[in-house]
């Protein structure tokens, strides 16, 4: 995964709610389109981050 710029726009702070926008690094000419995910709560924010970063919580998380 290349570099990604993530912007979090908060409509409310606690618990947080708003939109998470992930866009390509402006210097990456192969990058795709911006992706925007709405979230509510810290859980929602964390999961949105996993979604755009492909982190361990993204998608279906296997239970060991």
């Amino acid at each position: 995964m290349g570099q990604v710029e993530i912007r979090i726009i908060l409509d409310r702070a606690e618990p947080p709610a708003g939109r998470l926008r992930a866009g390509p690094d402006p210097g990456d000419c192969h990058a795709g389109q911006d992706e925007e995910i709405r979230f509510t709560g810290w859980l929602g924010l964390l999961r949105a981050l996993y979604e755009v970063t492909g982190g361990p919580g993204a998608g279906s998380v296997p239970v060991p």
Partner: protein
């Protein structure tokens, strides 16, 4: 989720475990133990409690355990019912009966309310205490209650009652609580438990070493310095540590190599809550949705409830919840599933936006209502989701309050307050709800809150139909606080309201009559009571008929017309017997009847009436009449010379008075007199002060004598003769002004003595004439004796004084008999007729010895010495202070029944005494015999059985 070892064992809590182990050891040895485990959320209280309960089970002990829940603070007796397994389906009939009691409803007439059944709450408290006692009599019992900060007020009240009752049984009470929130009931319970020898176990953060051990166990490797440094941010809170480790493990941040676990960097979230959320964020979305919905239901829930709330099949949810259980978010606990920790639930719940939370609560409430869930559960959900003016939530809160009222009036009051809070100020129903709330507060004993609620309502321009009941409530709350004049004003204002329905107007007059009686306004009391009786009879209000007629009997009694008074109680008893459900007996007619019988010199009948009345009060669970019964039983024991037993009754009544925050002037007066006669002047003064304090709020009235009489005798003992006479004449003149003639024979001789000693012959003659008139009217031996004694003292006539002793000998008042004998003996001695003096003085001395009346004994011995008379054959000495021979007849009886394995309620029933008095007898016996358990007492009984019986025939009768 996660790659950690199963939940690590308890670390770094050796000292705490030792304290808890000691508690279990104490119980094994037959003694009680109380430990309150206090500490912040997540610090490990629940683990410690689980450990001690496991230890107890391992040793074959009985365990009753439960955890209180934040969303169930309004479920009356919820915690204790869960702990003792009281469900309708219980195979144990005692438990099933308690469950049935808690589910009591009024059948077709709707739910039982505080008005229809004011005693249900205390019946339930007593039923739990009885059950706990029976369990403990069978073997050691450990009661474990977690999260006491969320416990409902009735459960806290029950735990207090249980702890008092179990003082000499092998029972441990182990409770966990956070430093906050703390409701007043919890503070009261904690104070009571600590006063009774319980201890606080303050649980703090783990040491660094303990944290290192915990981490090592969790990661199954030696933790490296980076990992430990990062974890140190958890401040030794074990939940924080394990949650953080869980999050790190899920992120794959912990690397283990060569038996060493390390992280490159620990990014510690700023709070435990975010740490928990960080770990939960790895769960599937389906699981998270279920957890969010579950968090709306509280810390625990059933799959059925969740299924109803989410409108999803239970089977499908079971699969989803399995992920939460595997991920240590949830755990199964009997029939319910609960969050592994309240903080996990809170983190999920608080992560929902407020508007979403409210919507989910509202939806859950509606869905639960459709499934027939209890009103309280539905109301709790709807209230949390409600906005201003939400009629649905208001309706359910009101319904839940009325259902809860009889079992837990505090809960009802809180629910009604919430309902009223949702109503617009102009809503016409709002004041009615607030009036109902005030009544619940009054019944629950929260008098100060009830007063504030009533006054706040009355500050406004109330609907006349609400104004009356609020004033009656205010009047009764003021009466309960001893503010009789203020109470009277409110009650009479209510009674004069034309908008008040007949039955309520009758109640206002009846209680106004009660207030006037307490103030000593006999004419006013009689007038109000007559008015109340007619109105109540017309309205078929049987309880109010009893209140009114009892006041009429008290008026006659106080005027010194004992037979008329007895006849009124006969009639009142008959009407109460005939009333539906014997409702009329809910008012303590028998207390007044018992008092009249005492004054008529019929102590056996008095005891029987008082004992039976007390049984009824205990059965219906109304506590304040118990104070009357205990007070009159103490009076009867005092008068008949069983002073130690009188003290046991008095101590039980002081404890109860303290508990229900009311006044017991007469009881303090009796204790003062006993202490004075026993030459314990400091205790006599303390008790006289307490009596005066209790009466101070009333002003001079009905019980004036009970503060003034002992005070005057104490002043006489201190050589302040003039002051003593002034005190006595002050009280006498108050009685004369108010027409309280019944007090004359009791105190007349002392006034005559003091007046003669001060040279006030006129006062002495007036007093004597008044006593003679009352005595002639009633023809009771002790009164005749008192009248003759007054005359004999004035005329210094030994023959009349001997006649006084003769009259007293026909009664059952040993102290009065001894005093008459002493006066007669002294008079004969002054005449030099020593042959007549000696037997009289000997008789007085014998009685004083048996009573333990050291002060009177010393005075009579001095008279004997001054006359140069050698004492004849000595009578039986008073009881020793300690050892088996020191036990009183009542204590012997209690000890025998303890040895038969009877519980306190069973003993109380056999002996016609209250459960509290049984407890007081036990406390006295344990101190006298230097033992700590019922088992030791039973062993002592067995040891002494067959040997020389203790002198139980030395009751101080003449």
């Amino acid at each position: 989720m996660g790659t950690l070892a199963p939940v690590p064992g308890i670390r770094g809590r050796a000292a705490e475990i030792a304290v808890l182990g000691d508690a279990v050891d104490r119980v094994v040895s037959g003694r009680p133990a109380v430990v309150l485990i206090e500490g912040e959320a997540g610090i490990g209280k629940t683990r410690l409690l689980a450990g001690v309960l496991e230890d107890a089970r391992g040793r074959g002990m009985q365990v009753a355990a439960a955890r209180a829940e934040e969303l169930e603070r309004t479920r009356p007796f919820g915690l204790v019912a869960a702990a003792f397994g009281c469900v309708r389906s219980s195979p144990d009939p005692r438990r099933a009966a308690i469950a049935a009691l808690l589910a009591t409803r009024g059948g077709d007439r709707g739910p039982i309310t505080v008005t229809s059944d004011p005693g249900l709450r205390f019946r339930a408290v007593d039923a739990f205490a009885d059950l706990a006692e029976e369990l403990a009599l069978a073997g050691p019992l450990v009661i474990g209650v977690d999260d006491l900060q969320w416990a409902d007020p009735s459960s806290l009240l029950t735990l207090a009652a249980v702890s008092r009752r179990l003082a000499y049984l092998p029972v441990a009470l182990v409770g966990c609580l956070r430093p906050s929130p703390r409701i007043p009931e919890l503070d009261r319970l904690a104070g009571l438990l600590l006063d009774a020898g319980g201890r606080i176990l303050a649980v703090r953060g783990l040491t660094e070493r303990a944290v290192a051990e915990l981490v090592a166990e969790a990661v199954a490797a030696v933790p490296g310095p980076g990992l430990l440094a990062g974890i140190s941010g958890a401040a030794g809170n074990p939940l924080f540590v394990t949650e953080l480790l869980g999050a790190l493990a899920q992120e794959g941040a912990i690397e283990t190599a060569g038996g060493r676990a390390e992280v490159a960097e620990v990014t510690l979230p700023p709070t435990l809550r975010l740490t928990i959320l960080r770990r939960l964020s790895f769960l599937s979305e389906d699981s998270l949705q279920a957890l969010r919905a579950a968090s709306i239901l509280g810390s625990s829930f059933t799959v059925t409830e969740l299924s109803a709330t989410m409108a999803r099949p239970a089977l499908e949810l079971s699969v989803v919840l399995a992920e939460g259980i595997a991920g240590r978010v949830l755990e199964e606990y009997g029939a319910v599933i609960r969050f592994r920790h309240d903080l996990i639930r809170d983190a999920i719940y608080e992560d929902l936006p407020l508007s979403v939370r409210r919507g989910l609560h509202r939806e859950a409430g509606r869905r639960l209502a459709r499934t027939g869930a209890p009103a309280l559960q539905v109301a709790e959900q709807l209230a949390r989701g409600a906005g201003q003016g939400d009629a649905e939530a208001i309706g359910w809160l009101t319904r839940a309050a009325r259902e809860a009222a009889a079992r837990s009036p505090d809960v009802a009051a809180d629910l009604l307050e919430r309902a009223a809070g949702l109503m617009a100020p102009a809503d016409p129903g709002r004041d009615r709800l607030l009036a109902e709330r005030a009544s619940s507060l009054m019944v629950s004993g929260r008098n100060a809150d009830a007063l504030a609620a009533c006054r706040s309502l009355l500050d406004r321009d109330l609907d006349p139909q609400v104004d009356g009941p609020v004033r009656i409530c205010l009047g009764r709350a003021l009466l309960a606080q001893g503010q009789v004049r203020d109470a009277l004003r409110e009650l009479e204002q209510a009674g004069s309201s034309p908008a008040l329905p007949g039955a309520e107007r009758a109640a206002a007059w009846a209680w106004a009559g009660f207030a006037r009686m307490s103030l000593g306004d006999l004419d006013g009391a009689a007038a109000s009571a007559e008015q109340a009786r007619s109105a109540a009879a017309a309205a078929a209000d049987h309880l109010t008929v009893s209140v009114a007629m009892t006041t009429l009997a008290r008026v006659s009694e106080s005027r010194g017309h004992l037979r008329d008074a007895l006849q009124i109680t006969d009639e009142a008893m008959h009407l109460a017997d005939e009333s539906p459900g014997r409702l009329g007996h809910r008012y303590p007619i028998r207390a007044t009847r018992g008092h009249i019988l005492i004054e008529l010199g019929r102590p056996e009948e008095a005891r029987s009436a008082l004992g039976a009345g007390m049984r009824i009060s205990e059965e219906i669970g109304v506590r304040w009449p118990l104070l009357l019964y205990q007070g009159f039983l103490a009076l009867e024991r005092f008068i008949t010379g069983e002073w130690d037993d009188a003290i046991a009754e008095l101590e039980a009544s002081f404890e109860l008075a303290d508990e229900i925050q009311t006044v017991v002037a007469r009881a303090h007066g009796i204790l003062s007199l006993i202490s004075l006669h026993r030459n314990d002047l400091s205790r006599a003064e303390e008790a006289a002060d307490a009596a005066a304090r209790d009466l101070a709020r009333w002003g001079p009235g009905y019980l004036t004598t009970w503060a003034a009489w002992p005070r005057a005798l104490i002043q006489e003992a201190g050589g302040e003769l003039g002051q003593a006479l002034a005190t006595m004449t002050g009280a006498w003149d108050t009685c004369a002004r108010l027409g309280l003639a019944l007090d004359y024979p009791a105190v007349g001789a002392d006034l005559v003595r003091l007046a003669l000693a001060s040279g006030d012959i006129g006062r002495a003659r007036d007093a004597s004439a008044a006593v003679t008139e009352v005595a002639a009217r009633n023809e009771v031996p002790w009164m005749t004796g008192a009248a003759l004694r007054c005359r004999g003292l004035i005329e210094d006539d030994a023959e009349i004084l001997q006649a006084a002793a003769g009259a007293c000998a026909g009664g059952s008042r040993p102290l009065g008999l001894a005093l008459a004998c002493e006066d007669a003996g002294a008079a004969f001695a002054r005449q030099g007729r020593l042959d007549r003096a000696r037997p009289l003085l000997d008789q007085a001395l014998g009685i004083y010895e048996r009573l333990g009346a050291a002060r009177d004994l010393a005075r009579a011995e001095a008279t004997l010495r001054e006359a140069g008379i050698r004492r004849g054959r000595r009578g039986t000495r008073g009881r020793p202070q300690t050892g088996w021979a020191s036990l009183t007849p009542a204590e012997h009886a209690v000890a025998g029944l303890v040895a038969e394995g009877l519980s306190n309620p069973q003993i109380g029933e056999r002996l016609y005494i209250s459960r509290r008095t049984v407890q007081t007898h036990l406390a006295h016996m344990f101190a006298k015999l230097d033992i700590a358990t019922r088992a030791q007492l039973a062993a002592d009984v067995t040891r002494h059985r067959g040997s020389e019986p203790a002198d139980t025939a030395d009751s101080a009768g003449g």
